[in-house]
Chain length 228, copies 2
DNA sequence: GCAAAAGTGTTACAATTACACCCATGC
DNA sequence: GCATGGGTGTAATTGTAACACTTTTGC
């Protein structure tokens, strides 16, 4: 099939790293110093190494921007191939979705900052639309997988988790129903610990946690399935 | 970021083209003539052209194996990057999922044939696991999108559609409930035409169709959403 | 009339939403 | 006691599965 030497292309990896903070969904961006798109905000990433897998490459590049140990989940999103997506020349790009718990406090380099996903500043290349892809993927998976573990702290109250889900989904979520749905599916479990009330008082809240901190599909799409 | 010239890699596109025939889910494979993996079955595809997008490339390569006009739906699946996935040297591969209606009868070249997805012959490279990815994606999307249009003929009876869904999902589906679910979501609509009974007799069946033959999400994951 | 397949009516069941109400704490 | 959230009980709603029964044809 490959009679002649096949053409080769530079390949980069990018990451849409999301977290919830102050009730908003945020994405990690760094400010470009040089042309093209000087002073615009861009996704972290970089070139794929000669003997590297894509997943390893994105972890390596992210290490320059954040403490990778803070990234609780990482999955492949999509590969972009528009020949004109980089004005300097053709570069293929595979984007990943990364998720950081809301209580993580990674120290960031000078040029790097979190930005609210709603109302992004001007972005470089096709990175703005990749952020949208990442947000959509996270929103969908919150409803049928355990990906919430990556967004939440190790231990949390239901109101904290409600605020996290609300911000990530972009609409109000009821703590009452969230608790019941997640408990029934065994996505979260209650611990013996209770948290003290906040300044404004109120009953102390029970502390919950995700029993397994890895991705698992909980809601096999029920349509057209025998009840078993 | 790219101070030195970045490394370049050969990039190929592959397609997992699925259809339902004789009550089984089938994938399009071609038999390799040369090493490596001589005589093994492989996914159609080929190199990415210098100024080409991935989607265009896979359509071009597929044209060698099938009449591309028969492919009712095509979407990106995932990108594989294991440096050893091709023993001849490193090749990145982006796989697509293609879907062909069950009544299409594309003529195939000598080396190409449909194979039941259950019980595949030995395959080349990592193509076997890509077929699994494709099957999983199709199965999930059948439940929450209109992707069924790509699998079904333009017009069909409910029993035909039931057989198609059963084969693609790998479990029994009730025509009664399938009809109601798809009608309520306006995924299918009834036409004025009735089909004559088969040889074994029986009441003539109403003919249905998919009103829009493009992908649409029908079942926004309902979890945690206000009823609005 | 009878067999076969299609289609409808109806009930059962499961999951979720909405909301009223009770609980536990600080002040 | 009362304000403030946390949490439970429960009814309403929705969507799907299961299945009996009716309809429409060929022979």
């Amino acid at each position: 099939m490959l009679d002649v030497a096949p053409p080769k292309y530079p390949h980069e990896v990018l990451a849409v790293v999301l977290r919830v903070r102050d009730g908003r969904l945020e994405v990690l961006l760094w400010r470009r110093a040089e042309k093209p798109y000087a002073a615009r905000w861009a996704l972290p990433g970089g070139a794929l190494g000669a003997h590297e897998r894509l997943g390893t490459a994105i972890a390596r590049h992210l290490a320059d921007k954040v403490d990778v140990r803070e990234i609780a989940h990482l999955e492949q999103l999509e590969t972009r191939s528009d020949p004109r997506r980089d004005p300097r020349g053709r570069v293929l790009a595979t984007a990943y979705l990364g998720v950081v718990p809301s209580d993580a406090e990674p120290s960031l380099p000078q040029d790097t900052a979190w930005h609210a996903v709603d109302g992004l500043p001007p972005t470089a290349f096709d990175h703005g639309s990749l952020v949208e892809s990442g947000r959509a993927r996270l929103g969908a998976k919150l409803s049928y997988t355990t990906i919430g573990f990556a967004l939440a702290p190790k231990a949390f109250t239901m109101s904290q988790l409600r605020d996290i889900y609300s911000a990530a989904l972009g609409h109000q979520v009821s703590a009452t129903n969230l608790q019941r749905v997640l408990l029934r599916r065994h996505v979260i479990e209650r611990t013996d610990i209770t948290a003290p009330p906040t300044e404004s008082g109120g009953r102390p809240a029970a502390v919950y946690r995700f029993p397994d901190r890895s991705l698992r599909v909980t809601d096999e799409f029920p349509a057209f399935r025998p009840r078993s």
